[in-house]
């Protein structure tokens, strides 16, 4: 079983290769390669990958069970099993040796299950959504390539292999944001996404390097080795020394910078809203369900390291909370349905980081899991709405679509129900777990921010639902003739994900003692969490009471939204009292990037161009003058007679010889 791991990324990569070649071969024909074949192949390989994941998961669960029963029998704690496969050595430089290896444990398994599962559904959806696009084959090829890279990201057995997938998904994100490249703005958005991510990726690399320095050069850079090193009590004293502790804080903070890039957190979050330039299935798959959650995954993967860096965890918690509330407020001002969802994603990611920051790695991953379902269905629903309205994305020109698009509405209602956290939806369970952990381990400050954000979430999401589905129709007459429900290939994913958005929360319904999800992760993040929790201790009030607070916040948000936007009556096209302020608020971080990133580069470039370059040229010119001067002097000499020449030459030679003889002998 173990030696099949390579197939997980290889299958979609193979799909990419075939579809990429088909796309290139048929690119100049208007109709492109046969859509049936391309669509079939593009869907086939992700589905195979998903099936393989299921089989591996089954085997791993069986193995885990047998190990568990053995350890109970023997009374000793045995290592939790994981499948590993090393493909060969990859990077060798001095005492650095990185193998190209994969590792399939429970955390990877959970990520892979929804990455390939939801990934397959979105591939299916794309076949319908992109059916009329000229670049259909190219699009499907990119999606397959993305999936392959995402699998490498979560399956890598060490941070450098993860980094391969990490930059690979960044490339695919770039390609897909700029998919409709004939529009200049899309290309700019794509470039921005790549560059902002590059900044984060540099942090990632330096962070890994510092980690490697802490562990001592020559040590192996695999997650297994890293975890073992940090779990080893023998290293506790070394970690406690101020120098190493500072190095660890720096290392973990830099790794977190990498996460803020990929997962769109403060301060590297500006690219995600712009990334909505890509086709909607891309937004659903890459910019909501999978890629942007890699940061949370990475933190959970390296939980043992972060557990030792409490300062960093505090920073993560506060950055997460700040991002959550900032993005939720921003989401209130958006007119573009995809932008609303984009800011909502940023905000939800903030929640996940908040959870991780208070030491609840498993809860963070659980929110990643539930969020993948409800945000994917919201995006796919939005895509369905856009599709139905012939490309309209502005919620000011929507309304009254609940009757016209019943399937889409039902799916999006499920997504909405989950995200606002009404009882027993997926978001209810995961968000209330976060709120509970934040209350217990994070303090009242973080808790109140989180609770306020929960209310804001309900407010902006309900606003969106009202403006799209419930308010009187503001759709252009021309467009409203063509409003139609989407084809079956788009509806099936909506149904499945809609049901998922309502139900997947029961995998970890803490209050009714369903904790399947937590048990899966306990081997991976358990030890790290045990360290963090033991420091705090204590238990909060009853979970039911906290859940009550959470639901109350959601209900308040919903009621306020209905109060404000009941009729879809708002003067959006006129002057907005909040217009300027909201723009400032929204563009705050773009401004920060300009000041911190672009201005210094411009200044340095200006100085090089206007001062240093002329200086260098000046020096060269002086050199030239000197040569010219020497030339004229020699010319003067050359006017004289041959005898003088001879004499001078002999004199020069004699002097040179004398000089050298004195120096060297």
């Amino acid at each position: 079983m173990t030696n099949l791991l390579w197939l997980l990324p290889a299958l979609p990569a193979f799909g990419f290769a075939i579809n990429g070649l088909l796309a290139l071969a048929g690119a100049r024909r208007t109709e492109g390669p046969d859509r049936g074949i391309v669509g079939f192949l593009a869907l086939l390989f992700p589905v195979l990958s998903f099936i393989l994941t299921l089989v591996l998961w089954q085997n791993l669960s069986a193995a885990t069970e047998s190990v568990r029963s053995q350890s109970e029998l023997l009374g000793v704690k045995l290592q939790a099993p994981a499948f590993a496969q090393t493909m060969g050595d990859w990077i060798r430089a001095g005492d650095l040796a990185i193998d190209f290896g994969f590792r399939f444990d429970k955390l990877t398994g959970i990520m892979l299950l929804f990455v390939t599962g939801i990934g397959s559904l979105i591939h299916l959806y794309s076949i319908g959504y992109m059916a009329h696009d000229r670049g259909f084959a190219r699009f499907m090829a990119y999606l397959n390539l993305f999936l392959a890279n995402m699998v490498v990201l979560v399956l890598g057995d060490g941070p450098i292999v993860t980094f391969l997938g990490w930059e690979g998904v960044g490339l695919c994100s770039y390609l897909l944001i700029g998919f409709w490249h004939h529009d200049e703005a899309n290309g700019s958005a794509a470039t921005k996404a790549f560059l902002v991510n590059r900044v984060g990726d540099l942090g990632f690399l330096v962070g890994i390097f510092l980690l490697w320095q802490i562990m001592g050069p020559g040590s192996s850079l695999t997650y297994e080795a890293i975890s073992a090193w940090f779990r080893d009590p023998a290293h506790a004293a070394q970690l406690a020394t101020p120098a190493v502790a500072a190095l660890l804080t720096a290392s973990t903070l830099l790794l977190f910078v990498g996460c803020t890039g990929k997962s769109a957190q403060i301060p590297l979050l500006t690219w995600l809203p712009d990334a909505m330039a890509g086709p909607t299935p891309v937004s659903a798959l890459i910019h909501a369900a999978t890629m942007v959650t890699s940061g949370v995954f990475l933190l959970a993967r390296m939980a043992d390291v972060f557990a030792m860096a409490t300062t960093t965890l505090h920073v993560i918690a506060w950055v997460g909370a700040a991002t959550a509330v900032w993005a939720a407020v921003t989401g209130l001002f958006q007119h573009d349905i995809k932008k609303v969802l984009a800011y909502s994603t940023v905000s939800q990611l903030g929640f996940m980081f908040l959870a991780v920051g208070v030491g609840a790695f498993d809860v963070g991953i659980f929110h990643v899991f539930t969020h993948a379902f409800f945000k994917a269905v919201l995006f796919l629903g939005a895509g369905s709405v856009i599709h139905a309205l012939s490309g309209e994305q502005d919620i000011r020109r929507m309304g009254g679509l609940a009757r016209k698009l019943p399937v889409t509405f039902a799916a999006m209602f499920a997504g909405w129900y989950a995200i606002v956290g009404l009882p027993f939806g997926a978001g209810f369970w995961s968000k209330d777990l976060i709120l509970e952990r934040v209350y217990v381990h994070g303090g009242i400050g973080l808790y109140s921010i989180a609770l306020a954000t929960a209310a804001l979430t309900a407010l902006y999401m309900t606003r969106m639902m009202i403006l799209v589905f419930w308010s009187p129709s503001r759709v252009d007459a021309e467009v409203s003739h063509h409003v139609h429900e989407s084809p079956l290939s788009m509806q099936v994913p909506l149904w499945i994900l809609g049901v998922g958005a309502l139900c997947v929360g029961f995998f970890w319904a803490d209050m009714i003692h369903l904790d399947w999800f937590a048990r899966q992760l306990s081997d991976v993040v358990g030890p790290a969490q045990a360290i963090l929790v033991s420091g705090h201790g204590g238990h909060g009030p009853s979970p039911w009471l906290l859940a009550g607070f959470g639901v109350t916040a959601a209900v308040i948000g919903i009621l306020v939204a209905f109060g404000l936007f009941r009729n879809g009556a708002f003067r959006e096209n006129g002057r907005e009292p909040m217009g300027t302020a909201s723009r400032w608020w929204m563009l705050a971080f773009d401004g920060l990037h300009t000041v911190v990133g672009i201005w210094p580069v411009s200044v340095v470039a200006w100085i090089l161009d206007n001062w240093i370059q002329p200086l260098l040229m000046g020096i060269l010119r002086v050199f030239g003058w000197l040569v010219e001067l020497a030339g004229s002097a020699i010319r003067l000499l050359q006017r004289s007679r041959l005898r003088t020449h001879m004499a001078l030459s002999v004199l020069g030679l004699a002097l040179l010889l004398l000089f050298l003889a004195r120096e060297l002998l």
Binding site: R28, A93, G94, L96, T191, L195, R198, M617, L620
Partner: protein, 563 residues
């Protein structure tokens, strides 16, 4: 039989040049000769590379030494170790790609002859172990290059050629002076030198009586001036008889000069340290070629004016000679001085990276842009070498190869659209992705190789360099500054991709552009395939250059420990 194999490597392009010159002036014939020679070289150097990588030895697999002027110590001395094998194979790959690129239509007999002659210099420089011949081959490159730019270049070709000539000539003069200084300060008679046991073991040959010979000199044992006896090679193989001495006599031999490293370190000339002075001179000579800021100004100009194939050779190979010279000559001869000046070299590399990157951001000519990106990328080699760590040196060697591939790709691709549009202005293109899908795919791919995307060749070298630089105290800060090059390279390359490929088709007449032809694909695809192969399977190259860098690192570390 294989005694003159290396001389053959140099002789083939020389014969090719002769053949091109003598053959009747028919374009297809000259072109066929050029391509035929390139294929021959590809097979030959590929075989040599394979043979070298298949052996366990880190020393010279092949060496040929024919004393020419024994009284002056000049010898025809060629050798191929792991580094040379890699570089000549890379040369053949780039030569093949460049010979498929479009050649000028005028005076092409001379053009092809010059093109071949250029490679005589390149192969010779990569193989020569005698400083006199190294210098000669170095100069041989200069002349055809000058004419290739000055005769077949763009509108401003004369100025560009003169600029190129002046800069490189200044560098050559510095090298000549250094060679002269070293030769006159070398010991006058045989002096015994203590050598590293690994050095002997890796490069030992066996004499007629079974005695160990190192670089043509007998290895001895015993104390200086005391009892000495010849060491038998079987003893060394068994790891006995240490410490070892090699009696040296006056020569121009690089390898003898390498054994003299401790001697150079102690000598003074004109009141200053000989090692420092000569290191400075060699550094100037090689830094012009790399090129490092502030000696870089000739490169963008030469690139813009040179024909496509020559740009490819220039970026793909000639720049690597600078790095090769540093690794082959400057670093082994003066390890102590290198360690002292490591911070300076690190900063020069870092400044080249940032300067080249920023300048590339501001270019409006595609070739200038790629030229500045070359300056930036080659800066990584210098930073890696300056770090003096095994990671850094391996990374620098790897970076040489990966940049050879990515820069060749980019210059070839720029040549492709120049062929069609007859200009290279960035703003003169736009939306080509709609017209030329194959070109666009390869253009983006090459940009990603240049931007160091993991899984492609560019990443491995940069990672090694950065890890090495961060590990060494002297280059740590410079290493962090260098790391911004990773962001800058993504910025200017993606900016270029966006202007050229994306957006609406700004110039409607470009909708008639043909996509890549078969010949163009034949020159591009091997380079692209290698970039991918070395990214996913870098051991192919790392296993070859790794021991070479470990050997250099061992030599330097040993000397610093010993002296």
């Amino acid at each position: 039989m294989d005694a003159l194999l290396l001389s053959t490597v140099i002789a083939i392009p020389a014969l090719g040049a002769l053949a091109s010159w003598c053959a009747p002036e028919r374009s297809d014939l000259q072109k066929r000769i050029t391509i035929g020679i390139a294929v021959l070289m590809l097979v030959l150097t590929g075989g040599l590379f394979w043979a070298q990588s298949a052996t366990a030895t880190t020393g010279f697999l092949l060496r040929e030494r024919i004393p020419l002027l024994p009284q002056w110590g000049v010898a025809w001395h060629l050798g191929m170790d792991r580094l040379s094998a890699t570089m000549i194979f890379l040369t053949a790959i780039v030569q093949f790609a460049a010979s498929l690129a479009n050649a000028p239509k005028v005076r092409f007999r001379a053009y092809h002859a010059m093109f071949q002659l250029l490679f005589v210099g390149v192969y010779g420089s990569f193989l020569a172990l005698d400083m006199v011949f190294f210098y000669c081959f170095w100069e041989i490159m200069l002349i055809p290059m000058f004419f290739l730019v000055a005769v077949w270049g763009g509108d401003d070709r004369k100025r560009a050629a003169v600029k190129f000539f002046l800069y490189t000539m200044a560098g050559s003069m510095a090298m000549l002076l250094a060679i002269f200084l070293l030769n006159v300060s070398a010991p006058r008679e045989s002096v015994p030198m203590v050598v590293r046991a690994e050095e002997v073991r890796e490069n030992m040959t066996t004499g007629s009586g079974g005695e160990a010979i190192l670089y043509g000199l007998p290895v001895m044992t015993g104390a200086v001036g005391g009892q000495q006896s010849l060491v038998r090679s079987a003893d060394i193989a068994a790891g006995r008889k240490l410490p070892l001495y090699v009696p040296l006599s006056r020569s121009f031999d690089m390898l003898h000069w390498k054994l003299l490293a401790p001697w150079w370190a102690q000598r003074q000339i004109f009141g200053i340290g000989l090692a420092g002075l000569c290191l400075g001179l060699f550094f100037v000579a090689f830094a012009v070629k790399v090129p490092s800021v502030p000696l870089h100004a000739w490169l963008p100009h030469a690139h813009v004016q040179a024909p496509t194939a020559i740009s490819v050779v220039l970026a793909g190979i000639l720049l690597k000679l600078g790095v090769y010279g540093l690794i082959r000559v400057a670093w082994p001869l003066f390890p102590g001085a290198v360690a002292q000046a490591a911070w300076l070299f690190g900063w020069i590399g870092a400044i080249s990276i940032v300067w080249g990157g920023l300048a590339a951001l501001g270019q409006t000519d595609l070739k200038r842009l790629v030229a500045y990106s070359s300056i930036s990328h080659m800066g990584f080699c210098l930073v890696g070498l300056a770090s003096g760590t095994a990671q850094g040196i391996t990374g620098a060697m790897f970076q040489c190869v990966s940049h050879g591939l990515s820069a060749s790709l980019l210059f070839l691709l720029v040549g492709v659209i120049y062929e069609r549009a007859h200009h290279r202005r960035v703003d003169g293109f736009g939306g080509l992705a709609q017209v030329m899908p194959k070109f666009s795919a390869l253009f983006l791919f090459s940009a990603m190789v240049g931007a160091g995307l993991p899984g492609l060749a560019g990443f491995v070298g940069e990672l090694g360099v950065l890890l090495g630089a961060w590990s060494a105290d002297a280059t740590r800060l410079a290493g962090f500054v260098s790391a911004t090059g990773v962001i800058l390279s993504a910025a200017y390359l993606l900016w270029m991709v966006q202007r050229v490929l994306y957006g609406p088709l700004r110039h409607p007449e470009q909708s008639a552009f043909a996509d890549l032809s078969r010949t163009e694909l034949a020159s591009l695809l091997p380079l692209a395939a290698l970039s991918l192969l070395l990214g996913v399977w870098p051991s192919l190259l790392q296993d070859v250059v790794g021991p070479a860098s470990a050997s250099l690192w061992g030599h330097m570390a040993w000397l610093q420990g010993a002296w």
